[in-house]
């Protein structure tokens, strides 16, 4: 008997999923099975890739076979006047009064020794404020970097919501509307009043911001729309292993270059030099000209 041993190699077979992948510009990854590939393909329709900040996060995450996860849930103390949470660049900012720019606390997520480098550290710091409660969700690993939380805010924008066909008492899709962000386009809702008592003539409307309710004397005409921002008090923060920095951001510039004063930057920091060198290896031309 002759016995020989071999090491098998993966061999992919083109099937209907690959065909869908061709149509959607998303090829199968090496050794990727159908169920995982199917969900990446479906993700193309949900998390659209583009050249915007979010588009890049979603596109790169998907193409690398990684996942955008729900990482942390943050809820404010109900007694705060207008709480909000903003993740922007390297910072996580907690507001007690978003409208008047009153900040409870702000955490730097970039530096290892900044105290909020990991998700667990960030969650602990948020809970330590006493004004917000943060919970690490099932899909998240507390040891992952908190910078995996990409730019997002608990103040969300509704660019357009139809008002017509809902009668004269209109319940909006969201509650806790942000003052100063509301705009109504309508041929018969022309004057906003600030108490229900003033609803005494045609064309007037009153908005209950907390309840997300519009009261009018007449039903809005077809084509009437509202745009607004609202406060999500059950804020589920999403994260991606893909971290994108913006060199134009002041937060990040200070990580890349030594800061001489509030507006002037000097030579690259050790981290900045590393990143510049890496960029130079990708584009072997002169950088920054």
């Amino acid at each position: 008997m002759a016995r020989q041993t071999f090491t098998p190699e993966p061999y992919s077979v083109f099937n209907e999923f690959d065909q869908q992948g061709l149509l959607l510009g998303l090829p199968r990854l090496r050794e990727e099975r159908n169920p995982e590939y199917k969900w990446r393909l479906l993700d193309v329709f949900i998390h659209r890739a583009s050249s915007t900040y979010e588009g890049l996060i979603f596109g790169i995450t998907r193409e690398l076979g990684l996942k955008v996860i729900e990482a942390v849930e943050i809820t404010p103390d109900p007694f705060l006047p207008m709480p909000a949470v903003v993740f922007k660049d390297t910072l996580c900012t907690l507001y007690s009064d978003f409208e008047n720019d009153v900040v409870v606390d702000e955490f730097d997520r970039f530096e290892i020794d900044g105290g909020s480098y990991t998700l667990s550290e960030l969650v602990a710091n948020i809970n330590a404020t006493g004004s917000f409660t943060a919970t690490l969700l099932d899909d998240a690993n507390g040891e992952d970097r908190s910078m995996t939380i990409f730019n997002q805010t608990s103040v969300e924008i509704v660019p357009q919501e139809e008002l017509a066909g809902k009668g004269a008492r209109i319940k909006l899709e969201h509650e806790n509307l942000i003052p100063g962000t509301i705009g109504i386009t309508s041929s018969n809702l022309v004057e906003r009043v600030y108490s229900e008592i003033e609803l005494n003539s045609t064309g007037r409307y009153y908005i209950d911001l907390e309840a997300g309710l519009i009261l009018t004397t007449v039903a809005p005409e077809p084509g009437s729309i509202i745009r607004y921002q609202w406060r999500n008090d059950q804020f589920v923060v999403k994260a991606s292993p893909v971290i994108i920095h913006n060199l134009q951001s002041d937060n990040f510039k200070s990580k890349m270059f030594e800061q001489l004063d509030s507006e002037t930057y000097g030579i690259p920091t050790p981290l900045g030099a590393d990143i510049i060198n890496e960029l130079l290896t990708v584009f072997p031309s002169s950088w920054g000209t």
Binding site: F6, F17, Y37, W39
Partner: protein, 534 residues
């Protein structure tokens, strides 16, 4: 030979009284059955292609990733030169090493992709995942007006299909003011992609339906145009139900109506039976007004590979296949085919008289071990009088008995009944108890006035099924199993009293490209050993 589901649809082109349409042992039916085989294959392939055109419904078991070994140019397969047509390559003995163990690898038989990938049955398992502290039984309520229920019901596996069952009620379709009202259940919630979503499921009559969309959680359920008192059940798994709708569901009744097929478990002594279930009526108009009783259309005793009875607790139909998996409480899970069979012993009825004036009235032509074969011999075309007749039968073991006055007698005795038979019923109801599995042959021989003899023969099957394969999960599922299901990713799960176990199925099988000297495997072995005699 397999009895194709499509054959009935095909023979329905003949008049209802034609034997080709009514008798599955007629030559015409056998002939049509041969034609129906590729038609059924084509119909299923078309259904699969239709499903594969959309990501949401596509078959996740399509061949995607194999592992291959490129044998060296110098490798020579053993040759079998016993065939006078020329020598042929002999598959080598192959074993695969994974997770510290060597596994013998079988060759696909026949050596093609269909049998390598699609028709092969897993032979071993590992535990992929365990879910505890969750329940697939999400919510139930009784309709009262246009019922709205709000809450938070999370899918027990994180995300997947939702099963909605409507029980009771008779007015699912109603015409009110010239408008057709259809009973609906509307689901709101968060779908598997994390988006807020909604899905409307229409109920033409009480039934269980699977959602098209996959859900993480349901936050609101509403019933519309549904009468009061209907019970609605919301579940995120399809475990321990009474019956399961056939995956392909392409059957037609002898009355040319499209009918629904279901599968369920019955009992026979200590063991279980697999039942093909259908509505009693084959007219959908009857279902709409509430006549939705079901009955077993055919049943098979379930046996294990040693032909011992299997006691199943639940079954699951494997999507895009003809496999049904029946689990026992002890952790043995058997894979059976869901095919009906043509009678095997058709040779035994070949000499029956074409257009015989006497017939054996028996329906259905199947039963289970221990049940009675009841039949009535009758004079179907009373053109001439019968002057004598005899009845006899042959057991599956090949032993023949005569029937005299309803009792079996030796076949070598004289059991002719002499005398003119003036009634259409030649003899009263005859009963034989089926004590062997297999096919019983019933025969009626009649001699007429003109001394001509007509012989009618019928085969009756004592049905049973032997598994195509069996897997054992008792090493990691130690509690009694109560249910089995395939999730939205077509992965197998078994349920115990307080946990759900995801079972990874492994198939040690290979496909050989003899020309290019390549071995293809389904499993990701770390190493493969190939043995030849050379």
């Amino acid at each position: 030979m397999k009895k194709s589901i499509v054959t009935q649809e095909l023979v329905n082109i003949y008049p209802p009284n034609a034997r080709v349409r009514a008798d599955d042992q007629s030559v015409g039916y056998q002939f049509m059955n041969a034609l129906a085989q590729p038609m059924e294959y084509m119909e299923k392939q078309l259904a699969k292609s239709r499903a594969n055109a959309h990501l949401v419904t596509a078959n996740l078991d399509e061949v995607d990733l194999t592992y291959r070994v490129l044998l060296p140019e110098t490798f020579d397969f053993d040759e079998d030169d016993s065939d006078i047509a020329g020598p042929s390559a002999v598959p080598p003995t192959v074993s695969g090493y994974v997770n510290g163990e060597w596994h013998d690898v079988d060759i696909a038989e026949p050596n093609d992709i269909q049998h390598f990938w699609y028709d092969s049955v897993p032979n071993r398992t590992t535990l992929a995942e365990t879910a505890s502290g969750v329940d697939h039984d999400l919510f139930s309520f009784t309709t009262d007006g246009s019922t709205v229920a709000s809450g938070l019901w999370e899918h027990h596996l994180g995300a997947g299909a939702i099963y909605v069952t409507a029980v009771g009620g008779v007015k699912y379709l109603e015409v009110i003011e010239d408008e057709l009202r259809r009973a609906k259940v509307v689901l709101w919630g968060v779908n598997r992609q994390g988006q807020e979503d909604t899905e409307t499921i229409i109920f033409p009559w009480p039934m269980r339906q699977r959602s098209i969309k996959e859900w993480k959680k349901i936050t609101r359920i509403e019933t519309l145009d549904m009468e009061d008192g209907v019970q609605i059940f919301l579940k995120s798994g399809d475990f321990t139900e009474e019956d399961y709708r056939d995956f392909w569901n392409i059957r037609y009744s002898p009355d040319r109506n499209k009918v629904d097929d279901f599968w369920g478990l019955g009992s026979l002594g200590e063991g279980s039976t697999l039942e093909r279930i259908g509505y009693v009526s084959d007219e959908w108009q009857q279902y709409v007004i509430g006549f939705t009783d079901k009955e077993a259309k055919e049943a098979w005793e379930l046996l294990d590979e040693w032909e011992l009875p299997v006691s199943g607790v639940d079954l699951a139909l494997q999507p895009f296949s003809d496999n049904v998996w029946v689990t026992t409480a002890s952790g043995l899970i058997h894979c059976y085919d869901i095919e009906s069979k043509m009678a095997d012993s058709l040779d035994l009825i070949r000499d029956r008289t074409p257009g015989s004036h006497v017939q054996i009235d028996i329906s259905p032509k199947w039963l289970l071990l221990g049940e009675d074969i009841d039949f009535v011999p009758w004079h179907a075309r009373p053109i001439q009088e019968i002057v004598k007749y005899r009845l006899w039968y042959q057991t599956p073991g090949g032993v023949r008995y005569g029937l005299l006055d309803g009792s079996p007698v030796g076949f070598d005795t004289n059991f002719w009944v002499v005398g003119r038979q003036l009634k259409r019923t030649v003899a009263d109801l005859q009963t034989i108890t089926a004590v062997e599995r297999g096919e019983y042959l019933l025969a009626l021989e009649a001699v007429f006035d003109d001394e001509s003899t007509h012989t009618e023969k019928v085969l009756v099957s004592v049905n049973y099924k032997i598994p195509r394969g069996t897997i054992d999960v008792s090493s990691f599922v130690t509690d009694p199993i109560i249910g089995i299901d395939f999730d939205a990713d077509q992965a197998m799960w078994v349920q115990t009293a307080d946990k759900y176990y995801k079972i990874a199925l492994h198939t040690d099988i290979m496909l050989i490209d003899y020309t290019n000297k390549i071995l293809y495997f389904k499993e990701p072995y770390e190493e493969v050993a190939v043995e030849t005699s050379g």
